[in-house]
């Protein structure tokens, strides 16, 4: 049931990306091009999503278990550090170059876009680079690398 719910959430998310036009990189770049012919659509997508999302998170704030009985696992860190900001800036540069972020990359792959697949492969390679750098940092710090199973 838990896995099925996860599939449903991903599926509905993908439909929302398709309806909103956010799977079209040209449209995303139209939003990011403030100095050109500006397409404000992305701001309204965010507004629509946040309006519904905020209600759901407010409802879950009072609960420790989900409707399926699963534990509620929401992030707790509150510190704004260099890692958060630098990482987000690097992400923003990549997003601005392609007009694609991870969600739409998966939808583009499903739509059979060769360029979408190339971008997705690079994202996965980037994840690999991150894991490699983190592992090296742990080893350099004298900590045993976390076992992956």
């Amino acid at each position: 049931m838990y896995t099925a719910a996860s599939f449903a959430a991903g599926f509905v998310f993908g439909l929302g990306l398709l309806v909103s036009g956010m799977v079209n990189p040209a449209k995303v770049l139209g939003f990011l091009d403030l100095a050109g012919a500006w397409d404000p659509s992305l701001a309204l997508v965010m507004a629509g999503a946040v309006a519904v999302g905020a209600a759901a998170f407010a409802y879950m704030k009072r609960r420790t278990r989900t409707l399926l009985g699963a534990p509620v696992l929401l992030p707790t860190p509150r510190r704004i550090d260099r890692r958060l900001i630098l990482g987000s800036l690097v992400f923003g540069v990549g997003w601005g170059l392609a007009g694609i972020c991870p969600g739409p990359a998966l939808v583009l792959a499903g739509a059979g876009s060769a360029k979408g697949l190339a971008f997705l492969a690079a994202v996965i390679a980037g994840n690999g680079v991150f894991e490699f750098l983190e592992k090296r940092k742990r080893v350099a710090a004298g900590l045993a690398p976390t076992r992956s199973s």
Binding site: G16, A49, V52, A70, G92, G116, A121, N127, S148
Partner: protein
């Protein structure tokens, strides 16, 4: 700044956004998690026992959406003008940056902002600013 009224699609943007919101709501109400795509995908780079199937299911759901859509109707316009070398560089930056930043447009931009998380609001301001700046440089400073 001039608004491109021909490109602007307010109705489908709000409706599509609300559908994304429903997906976010489903995921927190049923699975108790943040629908952050970079984190869900990234977690598969170092798979942990018992933590794989829900991640794969979410990713497969995203990939299945355009397949199901395509059975019933024509897919909406998808235009990628970026060249392959730039796309690959961009993907690498997104893959590394989202992991250090702990989220992307979905996890920080939608879920985190919905929760009024100060970290996510800061991250969203940072990646939006970098996105605006990058497009400005690419489209208005570099002669093509």
């Amino acid at each position: 700044m001039s608004i491109d009224w021909n490109a602007f699609t307010p109705a489908s943007a709000v409706i599509g956004g609300a559908i994304i919101g429903v997906a976010v709501a489903l995921f927190v109400v049923l699975n108790g998690r943040i629908a952050g795509v970079s984190g869900i995908l990234g977690g598969l780079a170092r798979p942990q026992a018992g933590d794989i199937s829900w991640r794969v299911a979410f990713v497969v759901g995203l990939i299945a959406a355009p397949l199901a859509w395509g059975l019933l109707a024509a897919l909406p316009e998808i235009r990628v003008d970026t060249s392959y070398p730039v796309l690959v560089a961009a993907g690498l930056l997104v893959g590394v940056g989202t992991r250090y930043g702990g989220g992307c447009t979905s996890g920080h931009g939608i879920c985190g902002v919905s929760r009024a998380s100060p970290r996510s609001i800061a991250a969203t301001v940072a990646f939006m600013a970098a996105g605006f700046a990058t497009v400005y440089v690419v489209r208005h400073l570099i002669p093509s």
